[in-house]
Amino acid sequence: MEYALDIRNLSKAYGGFRLNDVSFSLPRGYIMGLIGPNGAGKTTVIKLILNLIRRDGGEIRILGLDNLAGEMEIKSRLGFVHDTPFFYEHLTLANVRKTVAPFYRDWDDGQFRHLADEFDLPLGKKFKALSRGMKMKFALAAALSHKADLLILDEPTSGLDPVFRRDLLKKLSAFIQDEGKAVLFSTHITSDLERIADFITFIRGGEIVFSSPRDQILGAWVVVKGGPELLAAEHKALFKGIRQGAYGVQALTAEAGEARRRFGREAVIEAATLEDIMFFMTKGNGHA
């Protein structure tokens, strides 16, 4: 399989934080969601992909090229949106475009103007006068205007209204219809990923917890809701996280079949959402 992004054994010690042996792959033609709690290492992974920080070990291959040796070629074919767009705030959007466009050999000004219209971007207005949502829209328009093969989006939907968020998700789905393209999408809004992501990579404390197809995750992970019998020692190994509250016990497991066999009639078993998985895996050994 040809990968748009292939990360192997990536490590980085960075300001008291350690990214440890991170590996995952994103095939062409797919969208991958990168999820994890704050400080898990999502932005560090993205910075390493973009060479904004230097890796201590491991390998990053983007569109078949090493991200250090093939940096210029890769970045020509890579669109990105940072969690905060870093453009000259005092310039108008039309002038900000002038600072960005000349650096891309495949910049498509028609596409940029089309997106600016579609996103209602006021090109005569100064960047600093825009809301966070509008700034993100501008960054997205720039990322989608130079025929990128890989989009890397760091929290692109935070600050966006639900209507535009849905439009964006549609746009990303349309983007990967060309099977040579792919999207890596880091977000806290896991419901967005349930709509469009083909793969989910969950990172916590600088380590990958899983990186698997979305349907496989959502089919295998369940939340078991029952009484204190769930806390019995023989069940502990089954659960990835347990929450105990005034109204009973909830536990997360990646073995839906085994959970149904053990607790079929004694407990309520519900399909886990990505948010459930993130919550239990992060806070899952305590009281609710």
Binding site: I53, F80, H82, P102
Partner: protein
């Protein structure tokens, strides 16, 4: 490299025009001597460069441009080229202004703004200053780099002035250069002067490239 320079000039164009306006006002102010006007052009160049770096730093645009197809070494080279251009343009503009505003001395003699020694003194002084500033900037960042440069510049200028005062009364940098030219002969003198401009510049560029390659954002 030119795209980066054009980007910087576009981002800072109004601020640069303000610097130019202040430069034009200099000849009509009564407090500072008019003889140093051509040398002020270099100072304006430094101020313009600082403004460009300040805008970049305040908006964190380095993160944006380093995520784009731009190499770090190209960014460093573009800064050296832009700094050189601003200083030379500042020098040329203020020299032209000096010739127009003060063509003659009080005794009616033409002023010697364009003597070889004066031009060389300008290049030597500012090439060294720019090499020092950009080295400090790439090693320490805008805030600490600029403070260190200003302190180093004050110390060096003070030492140079003390050294000159300790010598003969007529001793000056152009005077020393004139004596050196007479001693070495013009061709050797010019080669030595070019080396004195190029060597610190090249060393600083090499070190800055190395510092910037290691920097994390």
């Amino acid at each position: 490299m030119l795209k980066l320079i054009m980007k910087d000039l576009l981002a800072a164009r109004w601020f640069l025009l303000l610097v130019l306006f202040i430069g034009i006002l200099y000849p009509i102010q009564p407090f500072w001597p008019t003889e140093i006007l051509p040398f002020m052009g270099g100072v304006y160049g430094f101020i313009a460069l600082f403004i460009i770096f300040f805008l970049e730093d305040r908006n964190k645009t380095e993160i944006q441009f380093l995520s784009m197809p731009v190499q770090r070494r190209t960014i460093v080279r573009a800064r050296y080229l832009l700094g050189s251009l601003l200083i030379v343009l500042g020098g040329v503009a203020t020299t032209a202004l000096s010739i127009i505003a003060f063509p003659l001395t009080e005794s009616g003699e033409p002023r010697l703004f364009l003597s070889m020694e004066i031009v060389l003194a300008f290049f030597l002084m500012y090439a060294f200053g720019l090499s020092l500033y950009l080295g400090c900037y790439h090693r320490l960042g805008l805030g600490r780099g600029t403070i260190l440069f200003v302190i180093a510049a004050i110390v060096l200028i003070t030492l140079a002035m003390l050294g000159l005062k300790g010598g003969a009364k007529s001793l000056s940098i152009p005077g020393i250069l004139r004596a050196l030219r007479a001693f070495l002969g013009t061709p050797v003198f010019l080669v030595a002067a070019a080396a004195a401009v190029i060597v610190p510049f090249a060393v600083s560029l090499r070190l800055s490239t190395r510092y910037y390659a290691r920097r994390e954002f």
